[in-house]
Every structure is written in structure tokens, then in C-alpha cells.
Symmetry: C2
Subunit: 283 residues, 2 copies
């Protein structure tokens, strides 16, 4: 997915939010906003939005010396999600359709997205998403593909959401490789946050090599690309991974909540809609 | 009021919105965003926000050749408000406290602010604001000052809101000078929109000389400044005028709805609150 003009004000907003987490020095924050503003001219609209935000995040680290401004928020969200883990596990086990309930919960976990907005209510959103209709619902395909799949690659997204991914992975109950970002970017999970979420207990953890808040194949490492090319089913969580892979012709299932109008419009759904979308060529 | 860091993403958002109204040429819109981003470094944080947005709006005109992108929206909002005029006039006349009802309605008209957001529901907002508690309510002072006042200056804000101002001016029923912007900026009223709202029937219309979406004294003309300095009561509508005049030591009453968090925080009220605030020195 290419970048839309609406992404530019959003990148400024993210720059301000990230800068404020990284420092309290107003002059440094102003310098980050100035530099971000100056980047727009040289940003290619043909690249996916997550790729454009990398340079902005690097600027924050460079100016403030803080390479992980979301560190404490990430830990807090993992802790919050971990506290819900056992009760949600029971909810899945007791449900009529455990796989679907686990999918819903893993999408509910996707509200912990600090790239878009910082205020969400996890428990409220869980209750809402457990009942919400899907705007795109390729569930039958997904269920069939999961049954047959032998090499499943799962693309993680936000820290905290990772705990919900663990529930889905346990429910699928097959060997799964779980890929995370190479370096801290927004509140996205790296290997550290994946381990804190207990994902090493249920999956083979790897770094995609990607420093962007999404899966941009051009920026991924060889180990990841081999697994990506070899996988017979890919589960892609969240907007950032969708933005990077929406034009790929692979057996990918996108699980996300449409939290920005650009994504919603690209998916032809409404803001706030939940999606389980196969990108297999239909025919 | 000085500019806050939060104003920068908002200026980018305004640039995009205004550019899209002015042209459908994506390359021109991108150029407007690029130039706006490049302006931040040289924008002084000591100036009030409306002053900073002037250059951005000039860039839109320069690149698109459209000097009044909000033209048709302004006319539509005046028309919408004009249709409500007679019924609101009766509402004021029939109310227990006509002056207060007229003040509430003039604040309700302040929702027609396209600098902050483009979606509002005028009739719904009117009903809400007729019942809403004021977060700051210097009404007794206002009422007393209005009784004594001989030289009242009324600072207009948005087109459409102008029609609601006409209702308040009729209710006050004293000679009033109504000042508007010099040139088109966002949906702010100029002399043209003030006349279309019938304000020439109830007030002496003048241009403040200000090209900014607010009252920035440094940018105002002499005629306005003479009236401003001579007035014994100034009614200031909306955020833009407040941003320009909040630090002035004059007998100004600010009537507004706090529609952005920077203004809300500066006034120590919540987002969405309505305000009738005197800036007289208390003691």
C-alpha cells in the first residue's frame, strides 16, 4: 500500500507524541517537529507509510538519545494483558467456536496501537469486539487453510497485543513462527517484548529484521524472507503489516481493526471495523 | 496566547484540508504539504497560532490560484443559519432571559469552525448548547457592562456564525461595530459574508485589516485599532480572536466553545466546554 496525503499530518502527530515520551525539553521537541516537517519533500509517496515513519523515529532517537521512548508503556500494556490472560483462555475454551473467539480476541488486542492514538480501554474494547460483526470475514477460508497448513508464519504487531496472539497461537495448536520488529519502533514488539509476553513458550520467535512499524519486505532479513517465501499460511496482525503486504500475492490473512481512515478506505470498510481478510486471488 | 507544539500537526491537517478544497491536483496538494512542513523551523512559537497559519493559507492560494477555497462552504453555512434565523429569534424573545439565550445561540454558532474540524451538526449543537453549563460564566459582569457600554466592538469569527451574532446584536439593541477579517482565510467572515448574513442591518461593519483567522493587533488597520482602543466593551467570538487577544488588558468578553485541547488547556476547561469569560483584571 502506498502512502496517502493524509499520512503526513499523522506523521507530524506521531512525531510530537513520540518526542514528548522521549524528552521534556521543548526545544528538542520543536527540533524534531522541524526536521520531520522538512522530511516530507523527500518522502516517496510510493513507499508504504510505515517505511516513512522510520526516519522520523530515528530523528527522535538522534536528538533525545532515547532509542525506546515507548519502553515503559510497552511493559505496562504487556502486564495489563497478562493479567487478563487466564480468564480469556477460559473464555476461549468455553466458547462454541474457540478459533473464532481467539481470532476476535487477537483483534481486540490490536487496539493497543500507540501509532494511531494513545487512548483505548482494553477491557471495554474486548467486550465490544467479542460481539462486533466483521466487515470482511474470510473465516471459512481461514479455518480450512489452518487445517491444511504446515508452515505458518505469524507477523506480530504491538506489545501487549502479543499476549492475545499467544492465545490464538495456543488455540491453533500447530508449529508457528512468530516474527517481530528488529529494533524498537513505536510500541511494536521486538524479541524482548515477545518473550515478556510468553510467546517463546508457544512459537519459534524470530526478528523480521525490519526496523519499520510494519513488514516492509525490502527491509527484512534473509532468515525472515526464507520463512516468508516458504510459508503456506501467513497471519498478519494490524495496520502496519497490512500496509507493507497488502499488494503481495501470498496466502496472507490480515487480522486488524481499521483505526485510521486511510486504511479503512483502502479496505473499503468503515473506521473502527474489524477485519479477517484473505488476500488470495479470488476467481 | 503563544503557539504550542500541538499546533504544528494541526497546521499540517489544516493545510491538507484547505489544499483539497482548493484543488484536486495531488501533486499540488503534496507541494503545499511539503512547503508547510518546511515552514515550521522559521515559525516563532511566540506568535499566536492564527498568525502562523496565514503563510500556509497564502501558499495554498499561490500554488492553486484559488484565493478562497472555503467560498462555497461559507455560503452554504450562511444559508443554513439564515433558515434558522426567524425561529431562533422567536426562541430568544420567548425565553426568560433573552440576553443569555442569545449568548448561548451565538456560542452555538461558533461550532461552524472549519479550522478545527469539518463535521458538526448545527441543529444538534444548538439544542445541546442551549442546555449546557458554562465552564466559565462571567454573565453578571457582562450584563452590567453591556448596560453601561456606549462603544461596543464585536469581533466576528466564522461565516454562518455571523447569523447567530446578528441575533445577539439585535438582543443587545445598542450601537455596535462589527469587525471581520480583511481577506478570505478558512471560513472566517469578511465584509462580504457579514453582509450576506444581514449584519449591515444591525451593526456598523468594518474590516479589522487582519488577514489572519483571529485578531492579531500587529496586523490590524488603524481604523480598527482606533475603535479597539476606544471601545468600552469588546465582544470576542471564537478561538482565533481569543488566541490573538487573551493576553490583552482590555474589557474583552470571550464567547467561545473550546474545540481544541490547546485552547481548552489554556482556559483551564475541558474540550467541548462553553465559555463566557471576562478578561478584566480581578482583585
Amino acid at each position: 500500500m502506498k502512502t496517502f496525503l493524509d499520512c503526513f499530518p499523522c506523521i507530524m502527530e506521531q512525531a510530537l507524541k513520540t518526542a514528548r515520551l522521549a524528552t521534556q525539553d521543548e526545544a528538542k521537541i520543536k527540533e524534531i517537529l522541524d526536521r520531520t516537517g522538512e522530511m516530507f519533500r523527500n518522502m516517496s509517496m510510493l513507499l508504504p507509510p510505515p517505511q516513512l515513519s522510520v526516519k522520523m523515529y530515528q530523528t527522535v532517537s538522534e536528538i533525545t538519545g532515547n532509542i525506546d521512548p515507548y519502553k515503559s508503556l510497552k511493559l505496562a500494556h504487556i502486564e495489563e494483558a497478562n493479567k487478563l490472560f487466564e480468564s480469556l483462555k477460559i473464555l476461549i475454551q468455553d466458547s462454541k467456536e474457540p478459533l473464532l473467539t481467539a481470532i476476535r480476541l487477537s483483534i481486540a488486542g490490536n487496539v493497543i496501537d500507540l501509532g494511531v492514538k494513545t487512548d483505548f480501554s482494553l477491557e471495554e474494547d474486548i467486550q465490544k469486539i467479542l460481539k462486533q460483526d466483521f466487515a470482511i470475514f474470510d473465516y471459512e477460508d481461514f479455518k480450512n487453510d489452518i487445517l491444511k497448513a504446515r508452515r505458518i508464519l505469524y507477523l506480530g504487531d504491538n506489545s501487549g497485543e502479543t499476549v492475545f496472539d499467544k492465545l490464538l497461537i495456543e488455540t491453533i495448536d500447530k508449529p508457528i513462527t512468530y516474527a517481530v520488529r528488529e529494533t524498537p519502533i513505536i510500541n511494536d514488539a521486538t524479541l524482548k517484548e515477545a518473550r515478556l509476553s510468553g510467546l517463546h513458550e508457544v512459537a519459534n520467535l524470530i526478528s523480521s529484521g525490519c526496523p519499520a512499524p510494519g513488514t516492509i519486505l525490502d527491509l527484512c532479513n534473509e532468515e525472515f524472507l526464507d520463512l516468508y517465501n516458504d510459508a503456506d499460511l501467513i497471519i498478519s496482525k494490524g495496520q502496519g503489516n497490512f500496509e507493507g503486504l497488502s499488494d503481495e500475492n501470498r496466502n496472507i490473512y490480515f487480522l486488524l481493526k481499521a483505526k485510521c481512515k486511510v486504511i479503512a478506505s483502502h479496505l473499503n470498510v468503515s473506521l473502527g471495523d474489524i477485519v479477517l481478510k484473505s488476500n488470495k486471488k479470488r476467481g
